[in-house]
Symmetry: C2
Subunit: 301 residues, 2 copies
């Protein structure tokens, strides 16, 4: 187990460095005008985050023997969308947070107007990336990848999940309602990361894409459950963002509908469902299976 862990950690670390380098390259240089905006975009994206979504893309890409350079582009596009959503979420009119990844949030370090534009421009950059470079062989598949990312980011995906989250402040949600919210808010982009990684490589049959999608749906939910458990348990210092904030803001979390120990059990069930979805995919799904374990057990940073 320890050898496996070390091997996975090496893989994860290599691919985290790869995505970091890719993001460094695609973000406009801080010397290019408008400099302050470009500095703020780099501040918001670089040097932080576990890059879970790009790692999922790399792991899914191994199933279709995708070129890692192509997956890095697709994974960077997903990560830019994720980064933009964090910048906008932290704004005073949303979660009004001052700390992210152990640093002042973008609007605290720069200003609100700049943070708004940072989010807007990061979203554009994600789509530019995914359209400008060859990320898969067939341009029609690439257009579908753009569509997948746009749908995952939009009002019936991540942005819609945010709206549901806003509407739920102070409300008592049932477990199914909570999951509906998370399937949108964080789940849509995680599923998209897995599908884009896979689609960078050889074509998959619809059934296999369905399996991957089921895996990603379960792992997306598990990710959120673990986040809520950590948020309830942790201190601000270990978390790198303000701890216990959702509960104080009267936001529904898994901990508001389940006990901490039941939430842990739920995360583990979701992990097992995720792994079951990969039955029959074989050795090529090794990294995806390991990622499922590590997302739920959070052994990596």
């Amino acid at each position: 187990m320890s050898t496996t862990t070390t091997d996975f950690q090496r893989w994860a670390s290599t691919h985290q460095q790869r995505i970091e380098a890719q993001l460094q390259t695609v973000l406009p240089s801080p010397e290019v005008a408008p400099q302050r905006l470009h500095q703020a975009m780099r501040y918001a994206v670089l040097g932080g985050g576990k890059r879970v979504r790009p790692l999922l893309a790399f792991a899914a890409g191994e199933i279709t023997e995708a070129d890692a350079g192509r997956v890095a582009l697709a994974g960077a596009a997903v990560e830019l969308i994720h980064a933009y959503s964090l910048v906008h979420d932290d704004l005073p009119c949303m979660d009004d947070d001052v700390l992210r990844r152990g640093k002042p949030t973008c609007h605290v370090e720069f200003d609100e107007a700049t943070a708004l534009l940072v989010g807007d421009a990061l979203q554009s950059l994600a789509f530019q990336l995914l359209a400008e470079y060859r990320v898969t062989d067939d341009p029609s598949v690439q257009l579908e990848m753009v569509k997948l990312l746009a749908a995952a980011a939009g009002s019936r995906g991540m942005a819609g999940g945010q709206a549901i989250d806003l509407a739920a402040v102070g409300a008592t949600l049932s477990l199914p309602e909570l999951e509906f919210m998370h399937i949108h808010k964080t789940g849509a982009l995680i599923r998209c990361a897995v599908l884009l990684g896979a689609r960078s490589g050889a074509a998959l049959a619809a059934a296999e894409l369905g399996q991957l999608d089921r895996f990603a749906k379960c792992i997306g939910l598990a990710f959120q459950v673990v986040d809520d458990v950590l948020d309830a348990d942790a201190t601000t210092a270990t978390l790198g963002k303000t701890a216990g904030k959702d509960a104080r803001q009267n936001k529904p979390t898994y901990i508001s509908v389940l006990s901490v120990s039941d939430a842990r059990k739920h995360a583990d069930e979701l992990r097992r469902d995720a792994l079951a979805a990969l039955d029959g995919v074989g050795e090529r799904a090794l990294r995806l299976r390991q990622l499922a374990d590590f997302i739920v057990l959070r052994k990596f940073r």
Copy 2:
């Protein structure tokens, strides 16, 4: 001249209705969850605006004999980007405006968090549209269209222009500096509208695309000069948005570097430069030429 005007106005009105119908169709229904977000997205986009960018796309599409249904999709994508930018511009941390197209701005009618998400989701929807439907024959060209729109919207296009605008508050800009700002802030998306319209149809030689781009660059600047003149002249009632605001906010405008009559002259020079760029394109550029006149003379609403 009056017959020409009537003929152009009929053309413009037909195509305004077409783009309105297209936007109606592509915006999520207000009954689909999250309902409030979808209602706010429709509020921000529908029933207002002259649709100048889609009209430019239709007019450019006539040069390459593009199918009007395809141009309507591409034009709608551009208009969604434009609409998102207005919603975000009006937010308290940006221009803090309460009136747009004669109605309360989105964050006044709904709330700030919703308006933020409306802008975010409209941007995603624009890219979804442009990737999901067939807007030109060759998928590689379509990917290039996605890239063009993303670049026009991003930090080296419209969002970058906003950042330059923010940085310029209270500063004295020279005419070249002011034009640099506008080439980004409004010019990039106007150029994109023209190029996307043309690219929906038959392939154009690089030289012809260059002519179109030059036309669009001039007309984008002329558009802004006329806007500034109108803003200085008009009342809030005739303008449908708060008049004289830029000057009060200490924002640089053409009227801060030129007299009103010199600004009018400058707009007319730009119009003539725009028309000169179309020399040799022939009869197929009729609508583009008429649009140039009408943008500068603002005879249509």
